[in-house]
Amino acid sequence: MIIARRRALTMGGSVFAALAAPAILRAAPLQVVKMQGSARGERVWFNPLGVAIPADSTVRFVNHDPGNGHTATAYHPDNFDRVRRIPQAAAPWDSDFLLPDESFEVTFTVPGVYDYYCIPHEMAAMVGRIVVGTPLDTGWEGPSTDTTDVSPEVLATLPTVEEIHARGRIEQKDGA
């Protein structure tokens, strides 16, 4: 009896603690980023193109394109010697090729700006940006300022941090 009650109290305590935490710390839901394409592959894109998430959130990249293979690959020297466009303290990721309906998950712990691309579709500017936390967070690293390793099309596609923070999610319906 006593043991049972003690356990109940402990559980009640942790539920209370979770409710009391600030929203941005509490809400760490799973975010889904879809890889999409038009029927004949004229256009390909990540949806959302830009998304703001709290630290320790997980993003699941899912291939929703029935006719194509896609990747979600961080701009980082570990991936094909690319110039880093994720925080220095963060671990790079590469989903490798996902076939239709396959998925890959990444958990983001370091606050800052993360740019990634799709290997076969970088030339079509299939890129995305994930913003973790805010500039007020300890260890925040803002967007890369490099303009030598990516095309002008890629740079033009990436939304600004301000836009992503203002809208939360920047949807991309048809790649336009």
């Binding site: 592959g41 006719g67 490798d96």
Partner: protein
């Protein structure tokens, strides 16, 4: 991702022309045999691509092809070519490309942003071999 295809391209380069010279009968039904490989076996693409069906290609003919496109029953339904736009612009031409079979009832030409295997913007040129081919390759 291209390594498997590039390696096999070297090995198979000599036998490519024979397949077409032998006549088209072997290609009418999937699998077409050497030197063709099923694209989804060597590249991260679905086995049946909506709109194109199940593709086979002789690796040494990349990127232009011909790609032989089969329906769900393994019937040759289209011959497809893929020509990078930048290459065309730079003066590359793709001439005397072989066809899967001589009967062609319609041709579609459209833009593709890229996919594994031909990961640059290119044109798809699709020769349909019978009136129902397009419908059978749709999904």
């Amino acid at each position: 991702m291209f390594k498997p295809m590039i390696l096999s391209a070297t090995l198979l380069a000599t036998s490519a022309t024979f397949a077409f010279a032998e006549g088209h009968a072997a290609m009418l039904q999937s699998p077409p045999g050497e030197p063709f490989v099923q694209v989804s076996d060597v590249l991260p693409l679905p086995a049946f691509i909506p709109g194109l069906g199940t593709l086979f290609v002789s690796p040494d003919t990349l990127p232009a092809g011909p790609f032989l496109a089969y329906d769900h029953d393994g019937m040759l339904s289209a011959t497809v070519y893929m020509t990078p736009l930048d290459e065309l612009k730079n003066g590359v031409s793709y001439d005397d490309l072989a066809v899967g079979t001589h009967e062609v009832i319609a041709v579609d030409v459209y833009y593709n942003a890229g996919h594994p295997g031909v990961d640059v913007p290119h044109a798809h040129i699709v020769l349909y071999h019978d009136a129902e081919a397009k419908a059978r390759l749709a999904k």
